[in-house]
Symmetry: C2
Subunit: 353 residues, 2 copies
Amino acid sequence: MEYDLTKRKAQILRAVVETYVKGGEPVGSKYIAQNVMPNCSPATIRNEMADLEALGYLEQPHTSAGRVPSELGYRFYVDCLAGEYKKTKAETELMSERLRGKQHELDKILAEASRLAGSMTNYTAIAVRPRADMTKIIRFEVMYFDSRNLVLVMLSGSGAAKTRNLRLPFDVLPTDAAHLANTLNTFIAGHTLEEITLPLMMQAEEEMGSEARLLSVAMKEIYSGMEEQGGGEIKVDGVDRLLSYPEFSDVGKLRGLLGAIENKDGILDTISHLEGDELGVVIGKENLSDNMSDSTLVVKKIKKDGKVVGAIGIIGPCRMDYANVMATVDALAESVGKMISTELRMLESPKDK
Amino acid sequence: MEYDLTKRKAQILRAVVETYVKGGEPVGSKYIAQNVMPNCSPATIRNEMADLEALGYLEQPHTSAGRVPSELGYRFYVDCLAGEYKKTKAETELMSERLRGKQHELDKILAEASRLAGSMTNYTAIAVRPRADMTKIIRFEVMYFDSRNLVLVMLSGSGAAKTRNLRLPFDVLPTDAAHLANTLNTFIAGHTLEEITLPLMMQAEEEMGSEARLLSVAMKEIYSGMEEQGGGEIKVDGVDRLLSYPEFSDVGKLRGLLGAIENKDGILDTISHLEGDELGVVIGKENLSDNMSDSTLVVKKIKKDGKVVGAIGIIGPCRMDYANVMATVDALAESVGKMISTELRMLESPKDK
DNA sequence: ATTAGCACTCGAACAAAAAGAGTGCTAAAA
DNA sequence: TTTTAGCACTCTTTTTGTTCGAGTGCTAAT
């Protein structure tokens, strides 16, 4: 993306964004001239601002008000910021510290990190977990509960385990459970849904012999487990903080945003459409969900061994303290990334609760 | 609870509640005289209303406004309603129908029922799941993922399964996994946390021989799994619907309520303090959480074999369509109760990991 | 290219007045 | 004794008008 703004225009735009973000009120030429560029007169600033408005970077709420950044304006600001928003080393250290040793499960770590991000920035935070890919199950286990109930455990290639209760309309023996597990591991494990053909099933049934009906009950659950749609999960923290911001005192907007957060699909979509590993900043109408067209999402994916294992992010109004939020999300995501790659050592350290 | 109101006072109070609930505006004597009690003059109603106010059932927003029910007024109304709020058989049937066959896991059934309750009443719905009791694990299973990763499966007496990933700082063989499972089933299964004594552990370690370190990793996870506190879970549906109600355009109140919903502790407390199996209606300051003191919670526990396995409920402003909400929640909870007693043998749905 | 000066616009804040709804009280009626 | 009509009173809501001030755009001078 190329922006050809003169240095001075860029400086003014930046000043407008920062001032408006802080104060929440449209900023006028006088203010800029006095506080930011003392060697220019208000009139000069006015001219420049008029230009910036014509170029689409600024907007005017009404004729006699100051200027406010447009979404493009924010976009420019954010793009300019890229690279220089990082937290200091000390702060990063501190965050890592507050995260460390708290939890051992990825879920919990993500939740804690997002909680932290939320409370540090005073915006609403989300923790995202991609949906477990159960497309290919590499191993089955069957546990005997009682004569009419078994528990089926499915292990995916990524290490995610899923359990399913099998309620049977007939009695079985513990040996049947083992037999079932065996059969599943022999014929079904390692295949995707499409690869499970009729001949394969017939072989498996033959293997089960008289207990073929048990197999069919299990297969039903396996199918539903593998098919199960519904994407990842989002944990939200601090929705109430949205209400701190005047932009959401508009009931309609707030309602839309709450809906979007609850719906989660739009957010997941947006995140999954993000390219690259870098911090993503999705401003206003850049969001895929219409209901989020007045909000900004700052999010960073967390990778482990090259695979995305989650993300943490912040949701707030477009008028957002970008520098702080970006730095915080970035640093926390970084911390989490480091934590989960050094987890081996953690397991050895004494448990603290 | 005894209320000694004359029949007429009761009738007026009831009329005020219903009118106010519907219209959202204070109701005056004239309205009642014309639409509800045509054989009384406004003056008579006024006198009665003054009495009702003195008794604490009604309130006046300001001198020259109509009357509004106090929380006590709502309480009276709800208590009077008890018994006559039920949905018709046909409606109940319909709801059961919409629930049936959708899902097989208790979690999902509860979520679906609450979702339904929310959309039928246009309030915010919650689905509550008590925490899985992992106090006693009756069976273990260990799955081999790779040489440094195992998956531990724990099965509780109630049929809930929980999985845990074991990351190892050393290499193991598939036979070690089986060995570990064996040892756990022999020495640990069937015991509560307190019953696992040092001698027991030593026996187990001896059994594991050279792979005792594997046991200690597993035990750490088992402990954390069994100890894991944090009460039930609440799934919320339709927070955005809160915004339909003018009482929550007060930012402070809305904020408090959102906080309370997110916090969930207050709600869980309130629910667990409810006595009996009947429909619970918690009005305003009856709520344990201060943040809910302007809201009403209508909730019904769902039991299975005498054990509470969940609850569904509705949250809204005190000015709520009690008859409809109570009937809906009651009927849906009833439906769920019936469903799980005919379709599910095992109490808990599996916990995915 | 910049700046000073000025007329102009438009919202915010305030005040005063008018409208309307509902009450409480008193005295008459049932 | 209970009910009702009548009336003065209170308090909110809405309307209308006015002022104030911030900030702009434009023009002419620097």
